[in-house]
Amino acid sequence: MNSPQTAASVYHFKPYNVGRWLIWGGYALVMIAAPLLWKSSLSLTMLSQMGIAIIACLAFNMLLGQGGMLSFGHAVYSGLGSFFAIHALNMASNGQIVLPVSLVPLVAGCFGGLFALLLGYVTTKKAGTPFAMITLGVGELVAAMALMFPGFFGGEGGINANRVQGEAFLGITFGPQIQLYYLIAIYTFISTVLMFAFTRTPLGRMLNAVRDNPERVEFIGYNTQYVRYFAFIASGFFMGIAGGLAALNFEIVTAEVVGAQRSGAYLLFTFLGGALFFFGPIIGAVLLVLALVLLSELTQAWLLYLGLVFTFMVMYAPGGISSLIMMNLRVASFGKLRPLLGSYLALAGTAATVLLGAAVMIEMVYHLQLNEALGPNMKFMGATLNAKGFDSWFGACFVLLVGLVLFEVARRHFLKEWGQTQESIEREIKKREAAT
């Protein structure tokens, strides 16, 4: 039998309590080392954007995952942060104010928090569906204002600024992308630490309580609106920081940064990464940039693929990628992951087959619609396909259908195996519990 001590340590399985220093150290190390491994200017741009997206998605998840608040208009706070950052940058370069470039994101954060303070009071009066509707309304309101006041929002062309200004401090001008990357990395690291710390405070825990059961919270002395409101302001602050960093990164801010599409991206990728665990949105943010920059290069139909992946995740893995990881870590900690590997390979193989069949059809439709002038022949993964040919369509349909059938078979088999594994883990826990 196990000694009681090991049984207890497995029983109190808390993944991110174990070796917290190691995890934070690794997180910092990855951010320091990433630009040394991927040196091209494209990857440096992407890494910078990932840092920004990490802050935004984590801030978004303060509401979604920790507070149970589904915001459809959170780009308002990052976007307004961006606008105030770009104006602050221009005022600093005109000599109207004294402001080091490295502190511009902080100013943006304060404005993000300020607008969350103003708009959030109304927004957080309600929870659940009314909350979501109000955020949608506020989002549309601000997006409309962005077009109504071209003086501040720059109209169609947006507002430009130059982040290189003043005298270089220790040789740092923020001109080269690598210097800006490290500024973003520092902000990302500190913001992540602060947002994690927030989850360990009385307000952070009460936010979880409000998510689970707002009614009961009212009967243990808390005003649920205030809990939501204060969390909303904190979230707005970090959204603002992300917006300020984005303004420095692109040196241009257009009205679309406050728009619904941006808000939707935060929601979608936070969900994909997983709202249930603190680190989920970090995964989501990395995926966001990969999809926005790489996938959109690869195919014109990238939004369609994204929608399919999203639908698929909502249906089969509503906890997102992070919860898939944590569930498998739990299985692995009981030494039962290896027998599942076969099923995973089968799932991956059949899913890839489905994807192949679907992708060929999607690409052919897009080719016919958008590239008609180029004729019916198109290249797909090295092969030449005739988008008007019966063979190609028949082949694609065949691959898709076979893939779907096999995937369903593999999925059912996996579910059975997974259920058995979970049961045996439960039994083991009970046994260890009895042993103590």
């Binding site: 009385p202 689970d212 009961r216 009212e218 009967f219 002395g221």
Partner: protein
């Protein structure tokens, strides 16, 4: 009647509540002294749960006054009433489902210990809150289930946690809405002892259907029939009360049941 009379921990003066045209509570009056354990009984639909909802601020009353330690609760929200020292449990367990047993209890003590909405200090350093949560966990005998999520507890454990959350904040007036509902005989007996232990020195109001629990626990019984308190006295006197027998325990069967439970 004179103004505030702080000799009563909880006082209801001609409280009425209507939903639309239906009057559910029709002039209920009650005076509970500090430290008394009162069982509220009555047939289904008598308005027992509604009465609890009025006292705890879940609904506002249509007319009449509810006083806690002599001060009026009219128009106050549930959290304001809770901060004045009144806590309640629910008939259907009302927990923080995705938090552990320990976290549930810690949430329940935070306000009373003055942590409010603070985000500048860590929970790990909130020693008094942690100690109080552990203490309550021992009391309700869930210390072995410390890190289990509330939604994964058994029914009886959830009922225990429900009561734990209610008493954790140290409120002096406790309202328990059918704490033993749906429990087996042995669990009920254990629960009655638990409730008696944790409400020592406190004022308790409990809705109860189980006559064994009522006679085993209560110093006084309030009989609520059609939204009115028709009797409020010691168990012996209530049992002998003709109006109660007639209105609530009318049938010979119920009479026998009461007599049996009393012995």
């Amino acid at each position: 009647m004179s103004a505030a009379d702080p000799e009563f921990a909880l006082e209801l003066r001609d409280v009425r509540k209507s939903f639309g045209k239906t009057e559910i509570i029709r002039g209920a009056s009650l005076q509970v002294r500090a430290g008394e354990r009162v069982a509220v009984i009555g047939p289904n639909g008598a308005g027992k749960s509604t009465l609890f909802n009025l006292i705890s601020g879940r609904f506002g009353s249509t007319s009449g006054d509810i006083l806690l330690n002599g001060s009026k609760l009219d128009g106050l929200t549930p959290y304001e009433i809770n901060r004045r020292g009144l806590a309640r449990s629910f008939q259907v367990s009302n927990l923080f489902t995705r938090l552990s047993v320990f976290e549930n209890l810690r949430c329940a003590v935070l306000w009373s210990l003055g942590y409010k909405y603070s985000f500048w200090r860590f929970l790990a350093g909130a020693r008094d809150a942690n100690e109080r949560a552990e203490e309550v966990m021992e009391m309700i005998k869930l210390h072995k289930r410390r890190d289990v999520l509330a939604m994964n507890l058994t029914y009886a454990e959830q009922r225990a946690l429900e009561i734990g959350i209610t008493i954790a904040g140290g409120a002096q007036v406790i309202l328990l809405d059918e704490p033993t509902a749906g429990m087996s005989r042995s669990e009920t007996a254990r629960f009655v002892n638990l409730i008696r232990d944790i409400t020592v020195g406190k004022t308790l109001l409990t809705v109860e259907h189980d006559m064994g629990v009522v006679f085993g626990l209560a110093d006084k019984i309030a009989v609520l029939v059609y939204g009115e308190v028709i009797a409020f006295d010691t168990p012996e006197k209530v049992r002998a009360n003709e109006r109660v027998k007639e209105a609530y325990l009318g049938s010979a069967q119920a009479d026998a049941q009461v007599a049996q439970a009393g012995h």
